[in-house]
Symmetry: C2
Subunit: 364 residues, 2 copies
C-alpha cells in the first residue's frame, strides 16, 4: 500500500495528506510500489515521464526533461560513465526532484510553498513552481552567488536572504514551515522519488544492467538517497540483478558523513566554519544523515573526502575535456579519481556532473 | 556530387579541401545530398547523430546532445511550440553547428582554429575543440560578459579580447584567418549543416510534418540559414510536403536585415552604435545577409524588428513561465508575440529559446 511512513514513530499517512514531516517531528519516507513498463518505453519520449509507473504522482510538472546523456569519459586514465545532469533546465539534477515534488504539491491543491537552498534546489523549486503557478519563497544564505540568486528571482520567486551559515538558513525555513508547506529537497520524500529517476535512466542506458559502482556527491544526500531508492526498486521489479556499490563523496572541509562512516571524531566547532568551493555539498548537519550512512553500508560502498586541491584539479581537467561544470560537481569527480585506482578490470563505474559551470561563472 | 561551391564565382572544391572561403574571397556553400533513414530512428539515441545520413561528416565531435525538448508554450495568449535549445551543453543552440564543424575540422587533420564570437559561438567552438583536442583561439569584443569569457577560458581556449565593436572583432579574426583555419559560425558552411538539425528535430517531433511558421532570430542568421537548409532537404527527400514560412527577428536597434527586407534606408552611422540587450543578434554587417533575405523571401516569410521594451517584456514573461533564457533569446519571443496576432486558427508555429539565462546572469 502506498503511504507516508514516519521513520521515527512508524505512523502512517495517506499520500494525499499535505504534510512534509510527521506529527512527532520525524522524517517521512514513502512506502511505494514502483513498476516499470519496459515494452512501452520504446514509444515514449526521452523524459522523466518515461518511468511514470514508478512515480508517485499522476502528473509531473514537466519541462519534458530527463534522460540526460550518459557519456564515457576518461577520469584519471580510466573510462567512467558520466550522467550529464548539468543539462537540466535550471542547470542541475535538482530538476528531477522538483518535477515530481511540485507535481505532488499541485495535486494536493497547495498554492504556496517555502524552500531553502544554497542555490540549485532553490532554482529548481522556483522554476517548477513558476511553471505550475504556485507561489514560492526561497530561503538562501546571504552569501549565495549573484548568478544563482538572479535565477531564483527571475522565476518570480520571493527571495529571503538569511545571514550566517547554511544551517542558519535551514533554521529560518523551518520556522516558516510551521505555517507554509515545505517543498524541501531534504525533508520531503517526494523529492527523492524524483531524483530516483537517475537510477532508472542509468540502468536503461546501460542496456538494463546495474553498474558495479556509482559515485555520487553527498551533502543532504538528495541524489544519493534517490538513487538508492531507484536501484532498490529496479531490483524489486527484476530489472537488475543486484545493487551497485554506492560511493559518497564529501568535501574534506565539511565532511560529517565521512567522519561518522569511518568512526572519526566530529570536527571541532570553529569560530568561522571552513569554506569549500563545493558549497552545494557543505552541509554540517544533513537531516537524512543516518539514512545516507545506511544506504552506503547496505550497498557495500564507502564515503570519501576530497581536498580543495583535488577539487580544483578535477574542475580544471573536466573543463578542459569540454564539460563546463560547477565546483561542487568537481568534488564528485575528484572522488571518482580516488576510486578508479582500486577499480577492477571491466568494472562498470557511473558518476555524474551535477551542476552547470555557468552557475558559478558569475562569481568571477 | 557533394562539394563546396563559391557563391560568388561558382568555383567548386572537394569537401576535403581545408578552406573556409573561396580563393576569390567569396562565401562557400555546401552542395550536399542529404538522406534520412526514418526506420533506423526508432533504435537511435536522441542526439544529433540520429540524422547521420543528412550530415556531411563521417563522425561528430559528440557530447550525445540534441533532440532538445519541443514544448507547447503560451506566447501572448496563443500556444506555440518552442525548441529548448538553451539546454545544449554550452548553453546555446550553437552546439549544433560546432559538433558538425569541429567533426569536419578533425577529419581534415587541422590542429588549430580561430573563431570570433560575441559569446555563444565562441563557447561552443571552444567546447568542441576541447573535446577533440584541437587548439582554439577565440576573438571576442572586450565588452563580452564575464560569465561568457570565463566559460571560453575554462575550456582551455586562448582568448583574444578586441576593443571596439563586434565588427572590429570580425576584422581582427579575418586577419588571423589568413594563416589559421577559421572555424567561423558565419563563414564556414559546415556550421550551417549542423544548425540544420534544428529542422530535422522539429519535423520528427511534430510527427513528420512541417510547421506552418517558424520564428527565428537573425543576426548572422546561423540558425535561420541552417533551418532553411534543413527544411529544403526534408522537402527534397519527401519527409515534408512544403516549406514553412520563415520569420526572422532582429533587435530594432541593430536591424540591417529588417531595413533591407522592407526597403528602408540604411541606418545612419552613429558616433557610438546603439546597444541592445539582444547582443547576440546585433550584427551590423552579416556576411550572409543576402542569403538570409533570399531564404526569408523564398519561404514567403518576413523580417521583424522588436523594441527593447518588447524584449524586456518577453524576457520577464518567459522567466515567469519557468524558462530561464538570455535576453537575446527574448528578442525572438518578442517577435513571436508580434506574429501571433496574424496567425490563422490551427496554424502550427515553432520558435526557439536560443540561449540559457545563466549566460547573462553574471552581468547583474
Amino acid at each position: 500500500m502506498n503511504q507516508l511512513v514516519c521513520t521515527t514513530c512508524r505512523s502512517t499517512y495517506p499520500l494525499t495528506e499535505p504534510i512534509w514531516r510527521c506529527a512527532c517531528g520525524g522524517l517521512l519516507d514513502l512506502q511505494f510500489e514502483a513498476a516499470i513498463d519496459r515494452a512501452a518505453l520504446a514509444t515514449r519520449k526521452p523524459t522523466l515521464w518515461r518511468y511514470r509507473e514508478a512515480l508517485p504522482v499522476r502528473e509531473l510538472v514537466s519541462l519534458d526533461q530527463g534522460y540526460t546523456p550518459l557519456l564515457e569519459i576518461e577520469v584519471a586514465g580510466r573510462s567512467v560513465w558520466i550522467k550529464q545532469d548539468q543539462l537540466f533546465s535550471t542547470g542541475s539534477y535538482k530538476d528531477r526532484g522538483a518535477a515530481v515534488l511540485i507535481g505532488h504539491v499541485q495535486a494536493l491543491g497547495v498554492r504556496q510553498v517555502v524552500e531553502d537552498s544554497s542555490g540549485n534546489a532553490g532554482c529548481a523549486i522556483a522554476c517548477y513552481c513558476a511553471r505550475a503557478g504556485i507561489d514560492c519563497t526561497v530561503y538562501v544564505p546571504a552569501s549565495t552567488s549573484p548568478a544563482k540568486v538572479a535565477q531564483i528571482e527571475a522565476y518570480g520567486a520571493t527571495l529571503c536572504r538569511v545571514p550566517g551559515t547554511r544551517q542558519d538558513t535551514a533554521d529560518a525555513v523551518l520556522a516558516a514551515a510551521e505555517t507554509t508547506y515545505y517543498a524541501s529537497h531534504s525533508w520531503n520524500p517526494f523529492f527523492f522519488h524524483g531524483t530516483k529517476t537517475f537510477a532508472y535512466e542509468v540502468v536503461e542506458q546501460l542496456g538494463w544492467r546495474a553498474p558495479d559502482t556509482v559515485v555520487l556527491p553527498a551533502g543532504n544526500g538528495t541524489l544519493l538517497l534517490g538513487a538508492a531508492i531507484g536501484f532498490r526498486e529496479l531490483l524489486a521489479v527484476g530489472a537488475i540483478e543486484r545493487l551497485p556499490r554506492l560511493v559518497a563523496v564529501q568535501a574534506g572541509r565539511c565532511a560529517p558523513l565521512y567522519r561518522a562512516f569511518h568512526g572519526l571524531p566530529e570536527a571541532a566547532p570553529e569560530p568561522a566554519p571552513a569554506t569549500t568551493v563545493a558549497a552545494g555539498i557543505a552541509i554540517p548537519k544533513p537531516v537524512r544523515g543516518p539514512q545516507i550512512l545506511d544506504a552506503v553500508r547496505e550497498s557495500g560502498g564507502t564515503i570519501l573526502a576530497v581536498s580543495e586541491q583535488e577539487i580544483a584539479r578535477a574542475l580544471q581537467t573536466t573543463h578542459r575535456q569540454g564539460f563546463f561544470i560547477e565546483p561542487t560537481s568537481a568534488a564528485t569527480i575528484a572522488g571518482v579519481a580516488q576510486v578508479v585506482w582500486d577499480a577492477a578490470a571491466g568494472e562498470v563505474m557511473v558518476s555524474v556532473y551535477t551542476g552547470h559551470g555557468l552557475k558559478a561563472a558569475g562569481k568571477h
